[in-house]
């Protein structure tokens, strides 16, 4: 188990609130935990970055990793 920091943006920040810590071995496990706690996440498209690197597959987490949860971009 690693302790990681969760940050979120846009619509997801409205749901998840301020940054917080969570414990998980990998990103899939983390997402499952979060979806249990925040069922609204199920219906949302969401991208993940670990330590500012966007990931597309399940990724192992280390202590102090920063996991960013990002809804679809809408800049410009």
């Amino acid at each position: 188990m690693s302790t990681v920091k969760i940050i979120s943006f846009g619509r997801l920040k409205e749901i998840l609130g301020p940054d917080f810590e969570a414990e998980a071995e990998n990103t899939d496990q983390l997402l499952n935990q979060l979806t249990e706690k925040f069922p609204q996440l199920k219906d949302l498209k969401l991208g993940i970055a670990v330590n500012q690197k966007i990931i597309s597959e399940n990724t192992a987490l280390q202590n102090n990793d920063v996991v960013a949860l990002m809804p679809p971009y809408s800049g410009g």
Partner: protein, 145 residues
Amino acid sequence: MSKIKNIFQNSPVSPLFIAESITKHSAKTEIGAHQIFLGQIRTDEIDGKTVKAIEYTAYEDLALSQMAVIREEIFSKYNLTCMHVHHSLGIVKAGEICLFVFTSSKHRKEATLACNEVVERIKNELPIWGREIFEDETHQWKTNQ
């Protein structure tokens, strides 16, 4: 590693800033063509409610490193003299400008294609979010088409 340039500012892009940016290029007399894109906040009407502003937030560190990658790829693809990008954060009101993309090249084609591609990539690849604020202070999250 490419140098990270800031593209964000906590205010709308002012026309005067654009003029100053153009003026700075008059010394670069190898430039023959400038292409500029400006994004302006629209008073969209959604379910009878009118957008009066958009509040932008970003994952700034990630956005700036993504932008550095885009910059590098654009410069290796197109023969540009220079390229400048400015995106507002915070509240930008209807009629104000939230995005300024400015490319310059010797001949027209390069600046034009590059400008278009940079705008496209900014909208698709930069972690920036717009919160559309209606006149009754309710909001919805903007989605890019």
